[in-house]
């Protein structure tokens, strides 16, 4: 599997994503600078976490209009897999690859902690290494992760199996106490219609090492690599 990681001024988790890809797939990703309008021929593009352009406008709003993201959109339309993590989720949502919007956390504060995620479906190239209902421990680190969409959109996402992950308690049950940012219906990550694009707020790339407390994020990269190799 060939992977490109798109780097904007202000991206800061591109190194963590690159490390996860290299370690789990055995192949180094190509780092693509935001001004490049050409994207190398790859199977997967990752839009990583950070503060693109300082996030001084709405998070991800400026990056969504960069030359490289136009190219990502065009390729995504032809079936290339796209993974947007944290700021990357905000960017690809702003770019229209996914519906809805990421608002300021309900608690109005940045939150960095391990959360529990319930895998909602194993029927996708991103989640095929997991079981539906499996509970993962993965960190979040964001200020704007409060996913919102209107009720009709949320219904449509749920009915078409496009909710990838939800925040949950350790036993998999849902509730306000387990939701770190107030997101609608406890949504942590969603797919596009063809399930070739995934956006999520948590950081699976920071849950790949038992010394650091969790390896639950490995399955995501392993699943993609198996599906695309």
């Amino acid at each position: 599997m060939k992977t490109a990681i798109v780097v904007f001024p202000g991206s800061n988790r591109e190194g963590d994503a690159a490390r996860a890809i290299a370690e789990i797939t055995g192949r180094d990703p190509v780092m693509v600078w935001h001004r490049d309008s050409e994207l190398p021929k790859v199977d997967l593009a990752i839009v990583p976490g950070g503060f693109s352009y300082g996030d001084y406008l709405r998070c991800g709003a400026i990056a969504a209009h960069s030359p490289v993201l136009r190219e990502v959109k065009a390729r995504a339309a032809k079936g290339m897999a796209v993974l947007g993590i944290c700021n990357g989720f905000q960017i690809i949502t702003e770019a229209g690859l996914l519906p809805g919007v990421l608002m300021r956390n309900a608690g109005l504060k940045f939150v960095c902690r391990n959360v529990n995620l319930r895998v909602e479906t194993s029927q996708s190239l991103f989640t095929q290494a997991y079981e539906a209902g499996q509970v993962l421990s993965v960190p979040v680190a964001h200020h704007e992760g409060n996913y919102y969409a209107d009720a009709a959109t949320l219904d449509r996402l749920e009915q078409s199996g496009r909710v990838a992950f939800r925040y949950c308690a350790p036993d998999g049950t849902l509730g306000e106490a387990a939701n770190p940012n107030g997101s609608a219906r406890h949504i942590a990550g969603i797919f596009n219609e063809t399930k070739t694009v995934l956006g999520l707020m948590p950081h699976p790339e920071n849950a790949i090492d038992s010394l650091l407390g969790s390896t639950d994020g490995r399955g995501l990269f392993k699943g993609i690599a198996e599906a695309l190799s």
């Binding site: 001024p9 202000g10 800061n12 988790r13 190194g15 963590d16 490390r19 976490g49 950070g50 503060f51 352009y53 300082g54 996030d55 001084y56 504060k109 940045f110 939150v111 960095c112 902690r113 960190p139 680190a141 200020h143 950081h203 790339e205 920071n206 790949i208 090492d209 010394l211 650091l212």
Partner: protein, 737 residues
């Protein structure tokens, strides 16, 4: 001051000396051979401010040990540099941003973090961890919650955007900080030991390059403001606080590191306190050269800025470089890529003078060397701190140990600071092995196996009661915290926060703390490689507790061989290493339970510290212990409670073997040089034998298991309840604010 020149008369001096004394002004006139103009006077004022010149502290700082076999660079550069083997060096420093953070908590704290990160990457290191030592006023003070919220958000706002994990630090509360909080920020970076960058200018004719953000009118005279006491109108000083832009700093970091990978740079210096003034003067004075700057070429944010404003602005995210002339274009291309300003604003000369021009007109012309070498140095009078009478534990009212534990574990100083550190991205870079909340943070270096242990420490109430002992204890506790995770402590950075040095009792505190620190640093082979002094931490004539914050860095050869405080295994034996005498003077128990801040702080036996610490480190490295925690605030019982909460596992504590020790002293005494370790039962006899032959007092004091903490006499409290109390205070306090 010495060598006093024939002074001008009061009538000849300008009305506003910009913070200089009359004698200092006269000295400036003598150096110039004429009255300085406004720009020149501004330059004297900031260069000779306490903040930049260390004029009151210099004679004392010289006493600290700064060398060692691993020290590559001690104090005097942007940050200290220590060799950690394999061609790697760790670069670190701690710096205060106290006054700005009180006036404007978000921006004050944010720019403090930005400034210290710049100090570290200026030297060629990539910042890999941040820590913060924060001290706020009483929780009952109406301003405190607002300051906590703003400072924490500011630290997070800057550090999170930079992509550098904030992995540790301290948060304490005391009424002495009501009008003057302390925000001490520390950054640790990793560099190639053969590629450290310095600020010493060289090469007559070499271009002087300005990079980074544009210069605005913010922070003018910030260094001078930081060198004066506060009064009730301190809020009016808000315009002297700088405004941070972490996005620009992130670009500046990446651009500088990219440029540093080439051989273009002769010298580099960030523009921190006193901005373009101190950077240009320091670089040229270190190189024994002159420097010419055309101020009209400086990128500015606002039109019609005067030379005075440009030289004194403390706008953030700026750097001054001396480049090899042939590398100009290559360097410019890198800054273009990162969309940052890159302006050639001058050149080095052999005149030995700082010459500033504006549109071809000379704005200032002054000798460089005397600005630094003739800066005033004061050996200020000292009054010793009176010794306090010992506390007799038997004189204290009897309390239920469980009740006392409840109170202690929920008091502002010991309550969990999760509310704070969850606002900091402490996981980015994927190397945070021990997160905030333990004795020391542990971060892996790259893919390992090496790692660093990092901690910041100070017990200001000890320093107030006995500065020498307090200074010694701050260094010893820091050394102990690094040892408790299995690291070899390498070196420290110090952030000396004190009141008005013109008062002899304050200078006495300063001198005492330095003497104690000196003894500890020597005894523990723990040199000071960088630091910062913040004086005049007073409001309306009332000083803060003397607070020499110590930031320490330790090395782990293999991160897999480290220890954490969490209990992990049922049926382990709890072994207390070090002697317990039950010292309650200045203890948290005395303060929180008896309401008394009295008595002498615990004695520090540096030989015992070293012996005990070396023994514990050995045990951790051979994998003999399952958990380890140093004993400090709150003593044995608080330490055990913290281990139980971290591991979500109960334990039983025995009565002291020695019937002479009063129960309160046994449970809550703050005797130094102690560690509590958990280890498998079958190994305890061997370890006790080994401790005995190593000269380390050791005894089995309990065992792990169950869901409650059971005290001598059978009283018990569930670990879940302890955690609720410990985790509850800060969110409740901030939520109610």
């Amino acid at each position: 001051m010495t060598g006093r020149t024939k002074g001008a008369t009061a009538a000849e001096r300008p009305a506003d000396l910009m913070g200089l004394t009359a004698e200092e002004y006269d000295r400036a006139v003598a150096i110039m051979g004429r009255a300085p103009n406004r720009t020149e006077l501004g330059i004297f004022s900031v260069m000779w401010s306490e903040h930049c010149s260390y004029k009151s502290s210099k004679v004392w700082l010289k006493k600290l040990p700064t060398a060692g076999p691993r020290v590559i660079q001690g104090p005097g550069e942007n940050a200290g540099v220590v060799d950690i083997g394999d061609g790697q060096a760790v670069v670190f420093k701690m710096e205060s941003h106290n006054h700005p953070s009180f006036i404007e908590p978000y921006q004050g704290a944010a720019t403090g973090v930005g400034g210290i990160m710049r100090d570290v990457f200026t030297m060629g290191a990539r910042p890999i961890a941040n820590l913060n030592a924060l001290r706020f006023g009483s929780p009952d003070d109406a301003k405190t919650p607002h300051l906590v919220a703003g400072v924490v958000a500011g630290i997070g706002g800057y550090g999170n955007c930079m992509g550098v994990p904030t992995v540790g630090g301290e948060v304490n509360f005391h009424p002495s900080y009501n009008g003057n909080i302390l925000v001490n920020a520390m950054t640790v970076g990793l560099a190639d030991a053969a590629r450290i960058f310095y600020s010493r200018a060289a090469g007559v004719g070499n271009p002087v390059i300005y990079v980074g953000a544009k210069t605005g009118r913010d922070g003018i005279h910030g260094a001078t403001m930081a060198s004066a006491e506060f009064s009730d109108d301190s809020e009016e000083k808000r315009p002297t606080v700088q405004v941070g832009d972490p996005f620009t700093e992130k670009l500046l970091l990446e651009a500088c590191l990219e440029l540093m990978a080439t051989d273009a740079i002769v010298a580099i210096q960030d523009m921190g306190a006193a901005g373009l003034t101190s950077s240009s003067v320091e670089m040229s004075s270190k190189g024994g050269l002159g420097i010419e700057l055309a101020l009209d070429k400086v990128p500015v944010r606002e039109s019609a800025m005067t030379p005075y404003e440009i030289m004194l602005s403390e706008s953030q995210e700026r750097m001054l470089l001396i480049l090899k002339p042939e590398a100009r274009d290559r360097a410019r291309a890198i800054f273009d890529k990162w969309e940052l300003d890159f302006a050639e604003i001058g050149r080095l000369t052999d005149s030995g003078r700082l010459v500033l021009t504006m549109h071809g007109k000379i704005a200032a012309d002054m000798p460089v060397e005397p600005l630094v070498s003739q800066a005033p140095v004061y050996d200020r009078p000292i009054a010793p701190t009176p010794k306090q009478a010992a506390i007799d534990a038997r004189s204290l009212p009897a309390t239920s140990p469980v009740e006392a534990l409840r109170k202690l574990i929920g008091c502002p100083d010991l309550a969990s600071k999760r509310w704070v550190w969850e606002q900091y991205d402490h996981l980015i870079m994927g190397n945070t092995l021990q997160r905030p909340g333990g004795d020391a943070a542990v971060i892996r270096l790259g893919d390992g196996p090496k790692g660093l242990a990092l901690a910041s420490d100070c017990t200001p109430r000890y320093c107030a009661a006995d500065p020498e002992r307090g200074g010694m204890q701050a260094v010893a506790e820091n050394w102990r915290n690094l040892t408790a995770v299995g690291a070899l402590p390498l070196a420290i950075t110090d952030n000396m926060n004190f009141g008005n040095p013109e008062r002899p009792e304050i200078m006495g505190q300063f001198a005492g703390c330095i003497e104690g620190m000196r003894q500890a640093c020597v005894a523990l082979d723990y040199p000071v490689v960088s630091g910062n002094v913040s004086l005049y931490n007073e409001t309306n004539g009332k000083g803060i507790l003397p607070t020499p914050a110590i930031g320490g860095v330790g090395l782990l050869e293999d991160v897999a061989r480290s220890a954490s405080l969490a209990l992990k295994q049922e049926g382990d034996r709890l072994v207390l290493l070090g002697a317990t005498r039950g010292h309650l003077g200045q203890s948290l128990y005395l303060r929180e339970i008896a309401g008394r801040e009295e008595g002498p702080p615990p004695p520090v036996d540096l030989a015992a510290e070293r012996r005990h610490g070396d023994f514990v480190r050995g045990l951790i490295r051979e994998g003999a212990v399952t958990a380890c925690h140093d004993l400090s605030d709150g003593g044995l019982l608080v330490a055990l409670a913290e281990m139980a909460m971290a591991g979500r596992m109960g334990a039983t504590l025995d009565a002291p073997g020695d019937k002479e020790t009063p129960m309160a002293g046994w449970l809550f005494g703050e005797d130094q040089a102690r560690y509590l370790v958990a280890l498998p039962a079958e190994r305890s006899a061997t370890i006790l034998d080994r401790a005995k032959s190593a000269g380390v007092p050791a005894a089995v004091v309990g065992r792990t298991g169950g869901t409650s903490l059971t005290l001598p006499g059978g009283e018990a409290i569930s670990v879940a309840e302890l955690s609720d109390i410990n985790e509850g205070w800060l969110p409740r306090y901030m939520g109610a604010a």
